[in-house]
Symmetry: C2
Subunit: 146 residues, 2 copies
């Protein structure tokens, strides 16, 4: 143990700290999205669209009902941030694709998360690596049970 190590925190303390940071990052994201006239949900969807994605896949990613996605994509499409394209191999599915404008907007939203970005700048390379390592170990266990 290094000289600066704190006493072992309780699990509850860690959970609260994680929650606080998660909330702060989410607010940072929502604020950046709002700055471009997007709700956080719309921005989140846009962030998933690296390639064409069927509506169903989107619903699975968002862990929500498929009918919900219809409305969200409707509103994004009305702003030309996204397009619905017919799937060539299955006429039931519609692939959602981000337009150039959509890609541009979500790129800017990411760049404008200054609170999160600034906070991470206070870590040096070593600390970043350590944090990344610990969080990467936490991730799989947290994503399991739904």
């Amino acid at each position: 143990m290094s000289a600066t190590t704190s006493p072992t925190p309780t699990k509850l303390q860690l959970m609260e700290l994680l929650a606080a940071i998660g909330t702060a990052q989410w607010r940072d994201f929502a604020a950046a999205a709002a700055h471009h006239g997007l709700t956080s949900t719309q921005a989140k969807v846009l962030a998933q669209l690296n390639g064409p994605l069927p509506m169903r896949a989107l619903a699975t990613l968002l862990v929500c009902d498929a009918s919900n996605v219809t409305g969200i994509i409707d509103r994004l499409e009305a702003r030309s941030l996204v397009r619905r394209e017919p799937d060539p191999s299955d006429r039931r599915v519609k692939n959602v694709v981000a337009t150039d404008e959509g890609r541009d907007v979500i790129r800017r939203v990411r760049e404008e998360m200054q609170a999160t970005s600034g906070a991470l700048d206070t870590l040096d390379a070593d600390e970043s690596a350590t944090l990344h390592e610990l969080l990467a170990r936490l991730r799989p266990g947290m994503e399991k049970s739904a």
Copy 2:
């Protein structure tokens, strides 16, 4: 640098990892809340009520409009999880207090966050302390600008 330290992650990688973990914990929380018939917002409000809290203070904590809180408390009060009490020193303010049942429910919700809890169990005392230390340093910077 210890022998197991990974190459320095990019800031983008860290942001995505933080977002993934934040989302996972939020879903865990929402699922536990739903198990008791609560929405995540209702559970979040209940979690803040350690003591009597004026409506206005709640709105500030939640970073939302005061009129929004009215509806949330209405629904919680309809289930007897919360009570509105007149403030003795200022007749304008209504203090929100969790009922015994409300305290009980939120206690159970916290206990049932098994995905998060289980994931944290995989860290030993040293790792927990390190994680806590790093996150605690991140927190103030992330909560600043709104």
